[in-house]
């Protein structure tokens, strides 16, 4: 273990806001979001890229922020759950999850909604199989997924008009 670790300067945009930061090379993206930027809506569940509680959108693609170093996000645009609502109004995906009882403890929900975001922004009529595949990397331990399937179908419908 080195005595001192040189920090690396990075710049990234999170939820539309530009940040210039110096981070340790070993800092994970999720640590940066949670600890430095205080965006604690992004969660950690498994540490091994299985559960997707840490899912965020990086340049529009869903990624697991526990499996990326913060320095790899240099220059990127990131969307987290905190950036979904606009002007205080819930995003149609958030509304769909709420209306469908698509959450219980709510720990997996931010990651699930961002995986849903990636799916339904492009696809307003996802098939059952497309829905299942879109969230294959998001584990939920409370809901048994049934109401999440409903929520994603409803979100896709909500997005049609959006």
């Amino acid at each position: 273990m080195p005595e001192t670790i040189d920090k690396v300067a990075i710049q990234l945009k999170v939820n539309g806001k530009l940040y210039s930061l110096a981070v340790e090379p070993r800092t994970l993206l999720v640590e940066l979001l949670r600890e430095e930027l205080n965006l604690t809506g992004t969660h950690v569940g498994c540490d091994t890229t299985y559960c997707g509680a840490c899912t965020v959108l990086l340049n529009g693609a869903s990624v697991k922020s526990c499996t990326m170093f913060a320095v790899q996000a240099d220059g990127a645009e990131i969307l987290t759950v905190e950036g979904l609502a606009k002007d205080g109004k819930l995003h149609p995906i958030q509304k769909a999850f709420g209306d469908s009882y698509g959450l219980q403890c709510g720990y997996c929900t931010p990651g699930l909604m961002l995986s849903t975001f990636q799916l339904v922004t492009k696809n307003h009529e996802p098939s059952e199989n497309e829905i299942r595949k879109a969230i294959a990397g998001n584990t939920c331990r409370c809901t048994g997924y049934q109401n999440i399937f409903k929520a994603i179908r409803l979100a896709a419908q909500n997005m049609k008009g959006a």
């Binding site: 949670r34 569940g45 720990y107 990397g137 584990t139 331990r141 409370c142 809901t143 109401n147």
Partner: protein
């Protein structure tokens, strides 16, 4: 005036919890950041069983940013071992939060490192040197009982507990039986519901007031503080525990008190700074808690000429891992559902529990009852098959009948209500039983292995802690209780606090529904405090969230507090409005929620009432001084202490029931089991909030399906845990969760004020149901489904004669007069 008598209980009221959770503004323990926080990492044993020869923390302490370290020996010198619930010899086990002279499972913490950052604490933990001398590990409970290698020298035996549960006249029933079925061995596997949020503790031993503060996600805080106060030698009032949003527990977070102890002691050593410990997933998998593993030996079943079970004898061995902790309570808790849903009266079960070199167990969803219910469902299916009775018909012949409720079981439990035949009917209708039977017959002709299975289970809720005296006559527990407070705050807001510790069950919503009905207002006008806090003074020694009880214990407490508040509001309102109490109406007026007099039309809103009591009290006549509009109510379950010698008494208040049917195909080429169709029927009495109940059923169903087919805590023969990450353990995902057809019936409970029954654990019905379906698929292959966990690998071994051979494991004796 709105608040027009509309009732909210029973309605699909949207969850109050949703708004913050959807915005990413839920407050989970790891989200809490306190000034001057230090971070703690554990050094853990790579061995399942070894002597600790030496621990050197010197190198770790040299790392810049490491503040201090802590070892087991240091802790043992300043604390008491944790309370053991077992009588001797199990009671002699000495359990400390860090291993003292030896380690007893892989992942057991042996030291802790405290540092300025989590990363530095990680570096420090890696620099701690521990020398081990390996000992023989014991990973099988039956082997453990031979005491060839002893885990706890103070106890002198690996047997934690043993007791015989005998009722009726077993010998007579066997003498008179038309047939006797014998089953050699069955095994319920070890798994965990693995909440997505790991354990988190922030602990502070504040030298300024000598109090210990916790911000954490423990799910049974009033149990934790009882263990912590005795361990740390402090008055229980010195410990404050707060929880906030919790990312699931399923019982697994009940036993996080050892880590809570370490955080407090580390804080003390670090000068009172808050210590944060955030468990990693691998730590969670190896060393938080697993569900109980159980082996069933030498089972004998007596049946009459109609295939009705008349008696049963068996020997059950429970594996509690390296330390009993919540155990041996599981050694009696299974007997809440002693006969399951069946009518047999005569039975003898010899029950033992052993320690093994594996992760300690904790009360995982379906705790201790699901193992027993799985056993009974296996027995029923095997008997049905051996006697040539269809599985559905076998159940109808053996079910407790609807007209027999309330039904007293052989061991004195009172099943409040239920209608199992009706549930079976509904399930068969929803899944299309007859059509599937036809399809199955056609598939079999093509050589496909398709099976249809039924599982009928119970979710016993609100338990009588008097059953602890059955395992230990000296245990100072009995009954059950819960506390709640309902008040009008200074500006008239309705505020509710309750001693539960929710993790997604929607307690804020259902509590608001109950209060809204009492006061004839709307649930959005009721604020329900989030999480648990000892300082709210609404907890009893049983407070927390576990054992399927909030709808009964929690909401009864809330209802009681709301009634008390209402009575005070009536007293005050009658005085202020110059009316008779019976002339007062509750509702919502132009200035918010109010009380109005029917006789003179005068009204006063909640602000007005709260104003008088809190800040304008000179207008009160002395006879109303006792009105506080701040009402604490403790609800108590009407239990008696059970007869300890006979192991007889009512152990639980309500019995929700589940009936599931699964159609499963075992792929001919890969042997991967696939669910083709699935139905889940639930009966939890009067439903408080239908979508919340439905959500609980889906969740419990996913846990059961995951456990039946995917999730298994695997240890090798020397106690290495082979499933220590999610990628190895494979929690069920959207890719392997089938669509579930949901239905429900309501048989209101006569035991609760609202007719509701506790629910949520779901009896692990899918495990039994899938075992039954696999059994049905493989009967004609000579395979006996003897384990609760089945995957392509185990089915391959069974189909190749290595395990689970019916001919070897099941014997049937048919006697003269047997029609079956």
């Amino acid at each position: 005036m709105s608040g027009n008598g509309q009732k909210w209980v029973g309605k699909a009221v949207p969850r109050k919890e949703e708004e913050r959770l959807l915005r990413g503004l839920g407050k989970f323990a790891d989200d809490i950041k306190l000034h001057e926080t230090l971070y703690l990492r554990f050094v853990r044993s790579p061995y399942a069983h070894a002597k600790i020869a030496n621990i050197s923390t010197a190198e770790a302490e040299k790392i810049p940013g490491v503040v201090c370290t802590l070892t087991g020996a240091e802790i043992a010198s300043q604390t008491q071992p944790f309370i053991e619930i077992a009588p001797d010899a199990g009671g002699k086990i000495r359990d400390y939060p860090l291993a003292v002279s030896k380690v007893r499972y892989q992942g057991e913490p042996v030291a802790a490192v405290v540092a300025m950052s989590a990363a530095i604490a990680d570096d420090g933990a890696e620099a701690v040197q521990v020398d081990y001398e390996a000992l023989d590990p014991v990973v099988d409970a039956e082997q453990a009982l031979t005491d060839a290698s002893i885990l706890h020298e103070d106890a002198g035996t690996n047997k934690v507990w043993n007791g015989v549960f005998e009722y009726g006249d077993v010998e007579k029933a066997f003498r008179e039986a038309a047939s006797v079925v014998e089953i050699d061995r069955m095994h319920f596997h070890r798994f965990s519901s693995t909440p997505l949020e790991n354990n988190v503790v922030i602990g502070q031993w504040d030298p300024k007031d000598e109090r210990i503060y916790y911000w954490c996600n423990n799910s049974f805080p009033s149990f934790a503080i009882q263990f912590l106060a005795a361990h740390l030698n402090v008055h229980i009032d010195r410990i404050r525990v707060q929880t906030f949003d919790i990312g699931g527990s399923f019982g697994i977070k009940i036993t996080s008190y050892p880590q809570m102890a370490v955080c407090a002691l580390a804080s003390k050593k670090a000068g009172g700074r808050p210590i944060k410990w955030v468990e990693t997933r691998s730590e969670h998998m190896t060393s938080s808690a697993h569900g109980n593993e159980r082996t069933f030996r030498d089972t004998r079943v007596a049946l009459d000429e109609n295939g009705v079970i008349t008696a049963l004898t068996s020997r059950h061995i429970d594996d509690c891992g390296a330390y009993p902790r919540y155990e041996p309570l599981g050694c009696v808790i299974w007997s809440q559902v002693f006969p399951g849903v069946y009518r047999f009266k005569n039975a003898r079960i010899d029950f033992s529990q052993a320690v093994t070199n594996k992760c300690p167990v904790g009360p995982n969803r379906g705790y201790s009852r699901m193992q027993h219910l799985w056993f009974l469902e296996r027995v029923v299916d095997i008997c049905a098959h051996e006697l040539g009775i269809p599985a559905d018909e076998m159940r109808l012949r053996n079910y407790i009948r609807p007209q027999e409720f309330p039904y007293t079981t052989p061991n004195g439990c009172v099943y409040d209500s239920g209608n199992y035949p009706k549930m079976l009917d509904l399930a068969k209708g929803l899944i299309g039983w007859d059509a599937w039977k036809k399809k199955q017959a056609e598939a079999r002709k093509q050589g496909r292995m398709v099976g249809i299975g039924i599982g009928t289970t119970l979710d016993s809720g609100t338990n009588n802690f008097g059953q602890s005296q059955i395992v230990n006559p000296g245990a100072p527990f009995s009954g059950n209780s819960q506390g709640a407070n309902c008040k009008l705050d200074i500006y008239g807001e309705v505020v509710v606090a309750v001693g539960s510790c929710p993790q997604g069950q929607g307690h804020e919503t259902t509590a608001a529904q109950v209060v809204a009905d009492v006061l004839n207002i709307t649930p959005d006008l009721v604020t329900v405090r989030t999480g648990f806090d000892t300082e709210r003074n609404v907890h009893t020694g049983f407070s927390g969230t576990y054992a399927s009880q909030f709808a009964v214990s929690g909401l009864s407490a809330v209802h009681g507090a709301a009634q008390k508040l209402k009575a005070e509001m009536i007293r005050l309102g009658a005085h202020v409005l110059e009316s008779k109490p019976e002339d007062l109406d509750f509702g919502i007026g132009g200035q918010g929620p109010e009380i109005r007099s029917k006789s003179n039309g005068k009204s006063i809103n909640y602000w007005g009432l709260a104003n008088i009591v809190n800040v304008n009290s000179a207008v009160l006549p002395p006879e109303l001084y006792e009105v506080t509009l701040n009402c604490r109510y403790i609800w108590r379950a009407p239990f008696k202490v059970p007869d300890i010698k006979k192991k007889y008494g009512n152990l639980t208040m309500t019995y929700a029931s589940q009936l599931h049917i699964a159609v499963v195909e075992v792929d001919r080429d890969t042997l991967i089991p696939k669910i083709l169709d699935y139905v889940a029927i639930d009966d939890c009495g009067t439903v408080i909030n239908p979508p919340i109940v439905e959500g609980q059923v889906y969740g419990a169903t996913a846990h059961g399906i995951g456990a039946a087919l995917l999730e298994n805590c695997v240890y090798d023969e020397v106690g290495n845990m082979l499933t220590s990450t999610f990628s190895d353990y494979i929690p069920i995902t959207a890719m392997n969760m089938p669509n579930v057809k949901y239905g429900h019936i309501e048989t209101p409970s006569p035991h609760s004020y609202s007719g509701a029954k506790g629910m949520g654990e779901g009896g692990a019905a899918p495990i039994h149901t899938i075992s039954a379906a696999l059994q049905d698929a493989l009967f004609d292959k000579g395979v006996f489904i003897q384990d609760s966990f089945n995957n392509a690998d185990s089915l391959f071994r069974a189909l190749h004669g290595e395990i689970g051979q019916t001919a070897k494991l099941v014997k049937v004796e048919r006697r003269v007069g047997s029609k079956a």
